[in-house]
């Protein structure tokens, strides 16, 4: 049995489900035409599809981020990695490398290597994850900008454009990618002992080591994998705008990804993780943004709403907060 459906595992991502449900309910009642799905130019169109499509990069990031956070770490560099991947892809295409496969391979390799770099800093040099990934976050964007000289480089490649903008069986390809990545990750973590090891390392690294788990390898893996996911996300985002924008691609997306993971029920301190929860969390964020925009509310308010959402989720997940609402303390 891959996913363990036990009450102890339920509690957490139910909140994400509920939040998403609430938002969609709001949309149903107050936003006419939100749920309308029509077929235009042979593919599905509509607000719902929009949410899925736009949310794809964050969802991809969130999958990798979930595993990193489960080990008790965090990866702040995924946005920068997305930008670097975009720059590399655009450069390769503009310099005349027609083979899509080559571009994809190189990009994913670069992304995974960057993730591995983070992994080495954390696992071998034992640097705190916030700091270790902060380094790449800061310098990475600089590298991406350097590669493209700060310019936005458009490219016109049908195959690459398909990744972010194409449709497969009427469904946006980016969504398919998300689902594939989710399925692969779920299989990898639940059908092997990897999931257990990851949760173990996050819960108590020392005890895991003494019990014979190769903590170093687990950490190297999760960061490399996070880098890989960022690579896929970068390709999707870049392909979406059909250009490499080193200044803006992936900007602040790592924060959205972390938020998605937290909403989804994985604790920042590590341990048990919820992959599906993280995806739901990403959907919540995206649904929120789309609902607000569709309602005609100016963009700046989305930030305030996001802020309140983060706060609400944290409060709801906080033991202390919930305790304050239970039976009041009986003074003896």
């Amino acid at each position: 049995m891959a996913v363990k459906f036990q009450p102890s595992n339920w509690g957490r991502w139910v909140w994400a489900m509920l939040s998403l449900g609430l938002i969609l309910l709001f949309d149903l009642l107050f936003v006419p035409g939100f749920f309308a799905i029509e077929i235009r130019d042979g593919h599905l169109f509509g607000s719902l599809i929009d949410i899925l499509n736009r949310g794809a990069p964050v969802m991809l990031l969130a999958i990798g981020m979930t595993l990193v956070i489960a080990t008790g770490g965090v990866d702040l560099s995924v946005g920068a990695t997305m930008a670097i991947v975009g720059s590399v892809a655009a450069l390769m295409v503009s310099k005349g490398h027609p083979s899509v496969v080559a571009v994809l391979l190189v990009c994913l390799l670069v992304a995974t290597a960057l993730g591995l770099w983070n992994g080495v800093l954390v696992a071998v040099f034992r640097i705190q994850p916030i700091v270790a990934t902060l380094i790449l976050m800061v310098s990475g964007r600089g590298i991406a900008q350097l590669l493209t000289d700060g310019q936005v480089i458009p490219f016109d490649d049908k195959a690459l454009g398909f990744i972010g903008g194409g449709f497969l069986f009427k469904v946006p390809f980016s969504i398919t990618l998300v689902l594939l990545t989710l399925a692969a990750t779920a299989l990898l973590t639940r059908r092997t002992a990897l999931g257990l090891f990851i949760e173990s390392v996050g819960n108590n690294g020392i005890a895991s080591r003494y019990a014979g788990i190769d903590v170093r390898s687990v950490q190297l893996f999760v960061y490399a994998f996070s880098g890989f996911c960022a690579g896929v996300a970068g390709l999707v985002a870049t392909s979406n705008i059909r250009a490499a924008d080193a200044n803006n691609t992936g900007l602040n997306l790592e924060l959205d990804a972390i938020l998605a993971v937290v909403i989804g029920g994985t604790l920042l301190t590590g341990g048990r993780f919820q992959l599906v929860g993280s995806l739901l969390g990403a959907l919540v964020i995206q649904a929120l943004t789309t609902t607000i925009l569709t309602k005609g509310v100016p963009i700046e308010y989305t930030l305030v709403v996001k802020a309140l959402t983060v706060l609400a989720v944290c409060l709801l997940q906080s033991e202390r907060f919930r305790a304050a609402f239970r039976a009041p303390r009986r003074a003896a």
Partner: protein, 511 residues
């Protein structure tokens, strides 16, 4: 303060204390009383309610019902700060001080003396020097706390409490990290504080120390008060039987049973470590263990016992000497290699190094076995459940089911789960570091029994313990450590307390 001990005007009186947690009644109408100038020891197995009672007294938990009166006034401490303000001070088993701050800063933390509204650093220093001198400990108070040993750190914690001018001092297992010399010094201080009229609540597992220092002893069992006794009028056997609720004769029988199953084994050593050492940690020493043999490692605190264990298990790398397993030389560079060679290790500090608190009992149990198999071959759910059920029964682990997070179990049961973890991995050599530390008397006896059983079944065992009697009782041979050096090895007729103490003491005098 400091009047005659009268039972009508106690310093502290807790009556009818009840406390419930979800699913369990931790305290059931417990009474506890403390006179000023008295040492009243609180004893009981794990889960008996000792620490809950203490936490209610010190303001960590609110009580559900009952009364607490300090010097005749009813009190309701809602925080440790409030309790401190009322005069109730606690020194905990784990050093609850700030390791990054200096000794002097720790002693005055939160009550720093001020001069014209700002902190007076000179006063902080002199207060600290005075406080440590009172305890007869000479150290540089301007060094960070973390640069000192646990024993010294504990002294600083006690010094801090004394400085706070507590009326009631709660000492929660204060000697578990002190050696005999330091414990003695602590007791001198306690007696001094007694004379000053302080009331002292003493919580400990060490029977000898309890009898040495206590005026009265209260025993808790399953949340209820079994009885309050005058220490002088109680025998050890009586005390132990009260605590575990077994007949006195049965307890005596348990002790005998252990002695009988001891049978020495001859053969080629499973593990043979020659001249292994680690710079600045352990001087080169020899240690060998045969299959079916228990080799004890004894010594005072700081003698290097756990360090030796960590060297053998590959947690620390040895930079001198060689380790041979079944005759072949091996490079033990990390725990995984050790496990692959058939080793297992039960660490001393189960909270920090043993349990995965949020993971279930089942997951904790199968972890070492799974780690051995690698990440690819996951044990099926059925296999895992069978494993869990088997060991829960065999080791009598008190848990409603195997899915309960191990962090919610009592210390003794956590220890049993960890033992199960290693049994499941079927090692050929098991290193036990203080396996009976911090668990109740009943569980202690069972762990010892289990150890002897494993040995009889052919396992090689390294048994580390600070309780000398325990080590002597259960080992075929005992390696004696002192100041990170091996100073002797006892076996046969030499295996007695006197000889052991001599061996430890002899090297001390010799320098």
């Amino acid at each position: 303060m400091g009047g005659p001990l009268t039972l009508d005007s106690p310093l502290l009186r807790m009556s009818g204390i009840c406390k419930d947690f979800p699913g369990v009644r931790a305290l059931d109408h417990v009474d506890f009383e403390l006179l000023s100038g008295e040492v009243h020891t609180l004893m009981g197995e794990n889960g008996a309610g000792k620490s809950t009672l203490i936490k209610i007294l010190t303001g960590v938990y609110p009580r559900d019902s009952g009364a607490v009166k300090l010097e005749g006034q009813s009190i309701h401490p809602r925080s440790t700060l409030e309790a401190q303000g009322l005069g109730i001070s606690t020194v905990y088993q784990e050093i609850n001080l700030i390791p990054t701050l200096t000794v002097a800063e720790n002693i005055s933390l939160g009550r720093e003396p001020t001069l014209f509204g700002q902190i007076n650093w000179r006063a902080i220093r002199s207060i600290a020097e005075g406080a440590m001198a009172k305890l007869d400990v000479q150290i540089d108070v301007n060094q960070p706390l973390s640069s000192y040993s646990i024993a010294i750190q504990q002294m600083v914690a006690i010094a801090r409490s004394v400085e706070i001018e507590a009326k009631v001092l709660v000492l929660d297992e204060p000697t578990s990290s002190l050696d005999t010399g330091e414990a003695k010094r602590l007791f001198d201080v306690i007696r001094r504080l007694k004379a000053d009229g302080l009331g002292i609540v003493f919580v400990s597992h060490f029977l000898d120390q309890v009898f040495e220092i206590s005026d009265r002893i209260s025993v808790l069992r399953n949340g209820k008060l079994v009885g309050c006794f005058v220490a002088k009028e109680l025998s050890r056997l009586q005390l132990v039987s009260r605590m575990i609720g077994k007949e006195e004769t049965e307890v005596a029988k348990m002790a005998d049973r252990k002695a009988k199953t001891l049978v020495p084994e001859t053969g080629v050593p499973f593990l043979s470590a020659t001249g292994i050492g680690r710079t600045n940690s352990i001087s080169p020493l020899d240690l060998s263990v045969r299959k079916g043999e228990i080799v004890g490692v004894a010594g005072l605190l700081g003698s290097g016992r756990t360090e030796v264990a960590k060297l053998l298990f590959g947690i620390d790398k040895h930079d001198q000497g060689t380790i041979c397993v079944e005759g072949k030389a091996q490079r033990l560079t990390n725990p995984r290699r050790a496990i692959r060679l058939g080793f297992g290790f039960l660490p001393e500090d189960r909270k920090a190094e043993g349990i995965l608190p949020s993971l279930s009992v089942r997951e904790n149990m199968m972890l070492a076995l799974q780690a051995k198999r690698g990440w690819l071959k996951l044990l099926s759910i059925r296999e895992q459940q069978q494993l869990a059920d088997r060991y829960i029964k065999a080791l009598k682990i008190a848990t409603p089911d195997a899915e309960k997070p191990i962090g919610e179990l009592s210390g003794g049961n956590q220890q049993r789960v960890l033992i199960a973890r290693w049994l499941a991995a079927q090692p050929q050599l098991l290193i036990l570091d203080e396996p009976t530390r911090g668990i109740d008397v009943g569980a202690k006896a069972e762990v010892e029994g289990l150890t002897l059983q494993l040995c009889a079944d052919g396992m090689a065992i390294v048994f580390i313990s600070s309780e000398l009697e325990e080590v002597l009782r259960d080992s075929h041979r005992v390696v004696v450590m002192r100041d990170r050096k091996k100073v002797g090895e006892l076996s046969g007729d030499d295996l007695n307390a006197q000889e052991l103490m001599n061996t430890i003491a002899a090297s001390a005098n010799g320098g």
